[in-house]
């Protein structure tokens, strides 16, 4: 009994910090509609700043608390600066681009932090007076944890008062509930957004600072926290403070007890909770459809034209160039080209569902990884040959896409994106922690291509043929009756339903089709590496696909192809040149988002059209 009570309190104390961070994220989303991926970076920054402050001021007595407070305030100021310098420039771009911009900030923050504070973990002081424990029901319980619970309640009450009793709070609530009102605020809108960003960042920084007595400050704090915070915000309902509070408690407590019952799958649990909640409440506990005035057409509005005969001819020339490639480049060139082509297929599949499909999928690694693991498991445990194993890749991915997709298409917008993310993370966690079958972090090794394709040029041709055909099919499907119908749903869901289209079935199919091709890409990827790893399923793979697709441009068919080639190349070249590749890449992505919100190909087209106009 006392054990359960202590476990409950422990869960609540993790919930406390989670709540601070998540409530900030939720507030920011509610008002600005920006899904701030950099929120985890602000949390990390809060922790580092708190460490530095305690070093300056000393970690004793009041100075300790002053340090924490100053760290949180500084984080708030930094957040406001980020909003004014960067995010103000991206409010007009589609929301997935905004997500991309905040991801670029994460990259930049990682390198800045590394170079400011150095690579080693730092351990701050204990909280003065709260470093011990008190006895509850005969068990010692850390007094600091108890303090955190109380503190979070105070913050919750403070936020309630702020939102309900002040002018600023009224504006925040109005903005969260009524989008049109925000547009009518005029110049006040700017300051409202900055203010909310500062407040949210302050809360993130506070959460980070308060971790100082509990854990060492490290460079990986950002990503682990942002994922947890997203989960909490999505479970609670985006923009809802109550939701963030309740969801933090659910997550904290369930995890505390989960460790007791399933010590092996601690990671899966978090995403399982999220998936279950979203299946029953597609908009989170306190969210509603009205919160989700996602203008899906914004994502991609461009008209797509089927390739003209002329263009097909150019494709042929290009194909010939690719066929001749092995005569020109060395084996690394072939390896890189194979990888680019595989990733181009991966990106094209994401483009299919995000562009014409209009569905912001944020877990595309799921299908890639399912395909990859299908190949690896078939090879390891059934010892089948490469062609058979490769056949299993799209099949496994389609099955996954259909099962998970069935739940996904019940949601919309950000929730749908987060649901795909939850499923991807769940499967990642299974691959990562189910040691006996998947090989855990090591993955499964020694899966090389069949003899006839083991030569690098042969493998390259194999990849080229399969991916080329797949990309062709994907492109063709965009112009098929199905592709048009999918686009109709994206353009105007109301009308699509009114003419008899079944939006859910169309989108469900879309996920299945995109999944199939992503799975094939994953299968090919395994053979190009000789192994499969959980990283094929993780958030970085998702982000890579996402970045490749968006920087290429959603409105054009060649966008994902250009995007994957450019991004893969940029990433490998920059990291050859500098250790600060994350900083450089971040700046490049930011520039693309700010200056070329149509993506590379989209902007290129726009420029061409404009030039033509000038000449004519």
């Amino acid at each position: 009994m006392s054990f359960l009570f202590i476990q409950l309190l422990t869960g609540l104390s993790s919930a406390a910090v989670l709540f601070l961070v998540a409530s900030g994220l939720s507030l920011i989303f509610g008002v600005t509609r920006i899904l701030n991926f950099a929120h985890g970076s602000l949390y990390m920054l809060g922790a580092y700043l708190a460490y530095t402050m305690t070093q300056w001021l000393g970690g004793e007595g009041l100075n300790f608390w002053l340090s924490l407070f100053l760290a949180a305030v500084s984080t708030g100021v930094i957040g406001a600066a980020i909003e004014m310098l960067i995010l103000r420039r991206v409010y007009h771009v589609p929301e997935l681009f905004q997500l991309l911009a905040t991801f670029a900030i994460v990259l930049i923050a990682q390198d800045v932090t590394l170079h400011t504070w150095g690579p080693e973990d730092l351990m701050g002081p204990q909280a003065p007076g709260l470093s011990g424990s008190i006895s509850l029901l005969g068990k010692p319980f850390p007094s600091y944890d108890l303090f955190l619970i109380g503190f979070a309640l105070v913050v919750l009450a403070g936020l309630y008062a702020l939102l309900n009793k002040t002018h600023f709070g009224v504006l925040v609530r109005a903005a969260t509930e009524d989008r049109e009102m925000v547009a009518n605020l005029g110049t006040n809108q700017k300051w409202l957004f900055t203010g909310v960003f500062a407040l949210g960042s302050f809360l993130a920084g506070l959460g980070g600072a308060l971790q100082l007595p509990r854990e060492s400050v490290s460079l990986t704090m950002d990503i682990s926290m942002i994922i947890d915070a997203f989960v909490v915000v999505v479970i609670g309902g985006m923009g809802s403070l109550r939701g963030a509070a309740l969801a933090s408690i659910i997550v904290g407590v369930v995890q505390a007890f989960g460790i007791l019952i399933f010590p092996q799958i601690t990671l899966v649990l978090l995403f399982l909770i999220m998936a279950i909640v979203l299946v029953f409440k597609p908009y989170g506990l306190f969210g509603s459809v009205e919160d989700m005035t996602v203008d899906k057409t914004q994502l991609s509005t461009g008209a797509l034209k089927p390739p003209s005969r002329h263009m097909n001819y150019v494709w042929l020339v290009m194909g010939a160039a690719l066929l001749a490639l092995p005569l020109v480049v060395n084996s690394y060139g072939l390896v890189l080209a194979s990888e680019m082509i595989i990733l181009a297929l991966f990106a094209a599949s994401l483009h299919f569902i995000m562009g014409p499909g209009g569905i912001g999928v944020f877990g595309h690694a799921l299908y890639f990884g399912l395909g990859a693991y299908a190949v690896a498991l078939m090879t390891k445990y059934l010892a089948v040959s490469m062609p058979v194993a490769l056949l299993a890749a799209p099949i496994a991915a389609v099955l996954g896409a259909l099962v998970f997709g069935w739940f996904c298409v019940r949601s919309q917008g950000i929730y749908l994106a987060m649901l795909t993310f939850a499923f991807a993370q769940m499967v990642w966690a299974v691959a990562f922690q189910w040691y006996g079958v998947t090989g855990g972090d090591n993955g499964l090794l020694g899966i090389w291509p069949s003899q006839w394709a083991s030569n690098k040029a042969a493998f390259y041709y194999f990849v080229l043929a399969l991916s080329g055909a797949s990309i062709f099919i994907l492109r063709h499907m965009i112009f098929s009756p199905y592709g048009y119908s999918l686009r109709a749903v994206r353009d105007q869901a109301k009308r699509a339903e009114a003419i008899g289209l079944n939006a859910r079935v169309l989108q469900w199919m879309g996920l299945g089709l995109a999944g199939a091709f992503a799975g094939l890409a994953g299968g090919l990827f395994v053979y190009s590496k000789g192994s499969v790893f959980p990283t094929t399923l993780d958030i970085n793979t998702t982000l890579d696909a996402f970045v490749m697709t968006l920087i290429g441009g959603l409105n054009s068919l060649s966008g994902p192809l250009v995007g994957s080639v450019v991004y893969t190349w940029l990433k490998s070249e920059i990291s050859r040149q500098t250790e600060l590749w994350r900083l450089v890449l971040g700046v490049i992505i930011l520039s693309i988002v700010i200056f070329f919100p149509q993506g590379i190909v989209g902007s290129f087209n726009q420029w061409l059209t404009k030039r033509k106009g000038e000449i004519a």
């Binding site: 009756p481 353009d491 339903e497 009114a498 008899g500």
Partner: protein, 279 residues
């Protein structure tokens, strides 16, 4: 042609819908027959669009019934619907309760609509918009091969011809004038081969002449193809010249119904509605 003794194609009764305490529609009842043009009028916020939304399944009503009577259909049409599983054989001759069905199933029964805020497929050309409807109507929307752009072009062109948009066929809807968008809406609704057409302010934003020509077209279509039409409109000339039957909504309640003369003479209508616009 509108035969008062033939069974109504659509019967709405007791329809209610509230939004968070505000009653948008409060117990509305009326019928629409084949070949009949019914106007639903009322001031802004009277509940017209909400009524439409409840009929075509965009929103589930809080109460009341929407009855669609397949007996008003021809035998061929009934057989098609039976084949497609939209009507079971046993209920063929009986009126069918379609309250709260999904818009897509209601659409398949032959109820089409246009939207007050035009809702076309922005990434497609004018003709592709119509082709899209034809593809949906022929149930080809799951087909993964072939070019959609090549399907039903002639048919789509003929429909554009009907509404006078054939010259704009290859333009993008984003570049169309508002009036043309409204015509496109009509062409799309007609492409679905409706037996009942709901039109939400079909002539809003049009000039007098344009409006008149469109209403003439609607009238022709209704009478020639024997389609029931329910429309909302703020322009009283259009209503009085073309509607066979007029229903006046005020704050979600029907306050008057009848032909043009009855409505023009109705004291309450004059007071709350006409009074304001034609002082």
């Amino acid at each position: 042609m509108s035969d008062a003794f033939s069974p109504p194609l659509l019967s709405v009764s007791g329809l209610r819908k509230s939004f968070g305490g505000v009653q948008a529609v409060g117990g509305v009842a009326f019928d629409v027959r084949l070949g009949q043009i019914v106007a639903l009028i009322g001031a802004n916020g009277a509940g017209k669009t909400t009524t439409f939304n409840c009929i075509n399944g965009q929103m589930p009503p809080d109460g009341g019934k929407v009855i669609y009577n397949p007996a008003a259909l021809t035998t061929e049409e009934r057989i098609r619907l039976e084949r497609e599983g939209e009507l079971s054989k046993t209920d063929t001759p009986l009126p069918r309760d379609i309250t709260g069905r999904s818009p897509r199933r209601i659409a398949r029964l032959g109820i089409g609509r246009t939207f007050q805020i035009t809702a076309t497929f922005a990434s497609m050309t004018v003709i592709e918009n119509v082709q899209m409807v034809l593809i949906a109507q022929r149930k080809l929307w799951k087909r993964l091969w072939g070019f959609a752009g090549k399907l039903f072009r002639d048919e789509a062109m003929a429909l554009l011809e009907t509404v006078g948009l054939s010259a704009q066929a290859e333009r993008h809807t984003a570049t169309l004038a508002y009036g043309d968008l409204k015509r496109l809406e009509l062409a799309m609704a007609l492409a679905n081969g409706p037996k009942l057409l709901l039109m939400d302010e079909p002539t809003a934003g049009m000039g007098v002449e344009e409006r008149d020509s469109l209403m003439r077209l609607v009238h022709k279509v209704a009478k020639n193809q024997n389609i029931g039409i329910l429309f909302t409109e703020h322009d009283m000339d259009a209503v009085f010249n073309y509607a066979d039957w007029i229903i006046v909504l005020h704050r979600g309640q029907i306050i008057a119904r009848g032909n043009a003369e009855t409505i023009k003479a109705h004291p309450q209508v004059r007071e709350v509605y006409l009074g304001k616009e034609n002082p």
